[in-house]
């Protein structure tokens, strides 16, 4: 594994600026998750590291060497694609052997066999090695595609929403598995997702992208508890952070126009009256929909809450987040 550094990277496609002036250092053994909605530049950043795209401006360093102008093969990176991209004319074994047989690695066949049976064991696909990839289920395909990256010993593993096309249970299983594997191997990973649970549970650091800009990088808890902007605060947390005018409750600092309230920032039972709109019982939690001075708020309440629509409940902010008119945090 190696240290990967992006320095002031920019990339546009036609008139669209996909990535703007992004700088990011991925230390050896880091698991960095890039988070952001569709079109924020996550995948482009990943492709710039892989060499599938070349930056318009800026430099990519791998292990201290400038690789900005090199091809993917010369960078020795492994990548897992969102749509698996398993070679359909090959068996599972041949797919896994493909990177090892490349002119780059030229691994002897005995070594390939050893490596593949080891990885297949970890990913529980040993019994599928002689199958055509087209005969696999979605989960198996994604395991093979992760396996194709893991058989190598690259400078960095790049993963582009590898779990997004799986069903919920499989996604949860593979998430845990992937985190295990990364910890065991001490692998360096750059991982793209828009799933905040994946980001929170797996990342050693999260990088939040907004319209091509990297707006905040930090450990998951820091991103959650101490976001630099309204945009970042909205990326994590379920139910999503509530935003209401700061003037509704007293105590806003100077310059703050927006009050950001997560569930844990709302104290029920004291403060200003709010109307109960409805309750949603989700089993392990109950979401409470409120309205205060015409603004909707969603928070959590006691699972066995007896509240009814049109009831009045008093609420009070507790250590909330404040933002200025342009969305920046006011402390």
């Amino acid at each position: 594994m190696a240290e990967v550094e992006l320095r002031n990277i920019s990339k546009s496609f036609g008139r669209i600026d996909a990535v703007k002036d992004v700088s990011l250092t991925i230390s050896d053994g880091d698991f960095i998750v890039l988070l952001g909605p569709t079109g924020a530049g996550k995948t482009t950043t990943l492709r710039l590291v892989s060499g599938l795209e070349h930056p318009d401006r800026g430099t990519v360093f791998i292990d201290g060497n400038d690789v900005s102008k090199t091809t993917p093969a010369m960078r020795n990176v492994a990548m897992v694609f969102q749509q698996y991209s398993l070679y359909p004319h090959m068996t599972v074994y041949e797919n896994l052997a493909f990177p090892l047989r490349s002119p780059l690695l030229k691994t002897p066949e005995s070594k390939i066999k050893e490596k593949i049976s080891e990885i297949a064991e970890v990913l529980q696909i040993s019994h599928k090695l002689n199958n055509r990839t087209t005969e696999l289920s979605g989960g198996e395909m994604q395991r093979v595609s992760i396996g194709r990256a893991l058989v190598r010993n690259p400078s960095i593993y790049l993963m582009d929403e590898p779990l997004s096309s799986l069903d919920a249970k499989l996604r949860a299983d593979l998430r845990v598995e992937l985190k295990h594997i990364q910890a065991d191997l001490g692998a360096t990973l750059l991982y793209v997702t828009h799933d905040q649970i994946e980001a929170m549970t797996m990342a050693s650091k999260i990088g939040v992208l907004e319209e091509g800009r990297l707006v905040q990088v930090g450990p998951p808890r820091e991103i959650y508890e101490d976001p630099v902007s309204l945009y970042v605060s909205g990326r994590l947390g379920l139910p999503r952070i509530n935003t209401i005018p700061a003037s509704i409750f007293p105590g806003a600092p100077i310059g703050a126009t927006t009050l950001g309230l997560r569930s844990e920032h709302i104290e029920l039972g004291t403060g200003l009256p709010a109307n109960v709109i409805r309750l949603e019982h989700l089993g392990d939690q109950t979401q409470l929909h409120l309205e205060i001075e015409g603004h909707k708020i969603i928070t959590l309440t006691d699972v066995h809450s007896q509240l009814q629509p049109d009831d009045i409940i008093h609420i009070q902010p507790k250590d909330p987040l404040y933002f200025d008119p342009s969305g920046n945090r006011v402390r």
Partner: protein, 312 residues
């Protein structure tokens, strides 16, 4: 409960469909059956009216196809008895074999020119189609339209300029000239067909191969080509069928060394009597290579025709 289904045809429907297909096959195969049987008739049987469905088969047509013959005197025939079955057939008509006919050479010409131009069309077509499919080619749409526009008139419309060019360049009646010409005509079809097939192969496979440590060219060979075999096979069949059956240019541009079978076969009809069985024998043998080639690639062809119709 019924075993009635919206998607699965009932037995009656299958029966009707099967009968219709059988009738259609019979209608389309009838001329071929006619040719096949005429090849084994005597010249007299071949023009009998009403046509003879049951007749005594003979290889006379095939012997006439492959040989040239001369009439001889009774005395000569008596002194030179036939050595084998085909000399016997000729002998019975009061003739002797003077030598081989030119059918073998012409047939070989067809094979060389047909398969040669097919190989070249598919080879160049694959490379061009890949470039059009994957790279930013300046004026791509205009170029593709230009390539297609060469098919917008019958090729024979440009026969005279081509005839003159070939004469000036010394390409008239050469294998190279005919291969070049058929390749030029087939290439537009090949590029368009193959571009369609290559467009269907997601570029992610090549990107995966690049990441896996291969160059662009290696990715093309190892990842794109194996997935394009279906398209390549069906394109090859279409190209071969055109080049194999082409008649007009062959008549115009070849007369000796490079003459293909299509213009040659009608000339077999002979001097004096009309030797339909020999013509039919030539036509029958002429069908074989394309048929064998198509059967060998049939699995690919079937997949090729339905390719892209259903999302995988």
């Amino acid at each position: 409960m019924t075993n009635w289904s919206l998607t699965e045809p009932s037995n009656t429907q299958k029966y009707v469909a099967g009968t219709l297909v059988a009738i259609y096959a019979l209608v389309t195969l009838l001329p071929i059956l006619w040719i096949l049987s005429t090849g084994f008739k005597t010249p007299t049987d071949s023009i009998a009216y009403p046509p003879k469905l049951i007749f005594e088969p003979t290889l006379e047509g095939y012997v006439n196809l492959f040989t040239t013959q001369t009439r001889q005197t009774e005395e000569y025939l008596a002194n030179n008895p036939p050595n084998n079955w085909y000399e016997q057939i000729v002998h019975d008509k009061g003739m002797v074999i003077a030598g081989p006919s030119r059918f073998g050479e012409r047939f070989l010409n067809s094979v060389i020119i047909g398969f040669g131009s097919t190989f070249l069309s598919v080879f160049l077509g694959t490379l061009a189609a890949y470039a059009f499919s994957r790279y930013k080619v300046p004026l791509k749409d205009d170029l593709l339209f230009f390539i297609l526009s060469t098919r917008m008139m019958p090729p024979i419309a440009v026969a005279i300029p081509i005839f003159l060019m070939f004469r000036t360049l010394g390409l008239s009646d050469t294998h190279a000239g005919m291969i070049l010409l058929y390749t030029a005509v087939n290439l537009s079809l090949a590029v368009w067909l193959l571009k369609g097939f290559i467009d269907e192969i997601p570029i992610e496979y090549e990107e995966a191969a690049l990441i896996d440590g291969y160059t662009r060219f290696q990715a093309f060979i190892k990842v794109v080509l194996p997935q394009a075999t279906t398209g390549i096979a069906s394109t090859a069949i279409f190209c071969l069928i055109f080049a194999w059956n082409e008649y007009a240019f062959a008549v115009l541009l070849t007369s000796g060394t490079a003459q293909t079978a299509p213009p040659f076969i009608p000339t077999i009809i002979g001097v004096g009597g009309q030797d339909w069985p020999a013509v039919a024998a030539g036509a029958t043998l002429f069908l074989v290579p394309v048929m064998v080639f198509t059967i060998l690639l049939r699995r690919h062809l079937l997949r090729g025709i339905t390719f892209g119709a259903v999302r995988k």
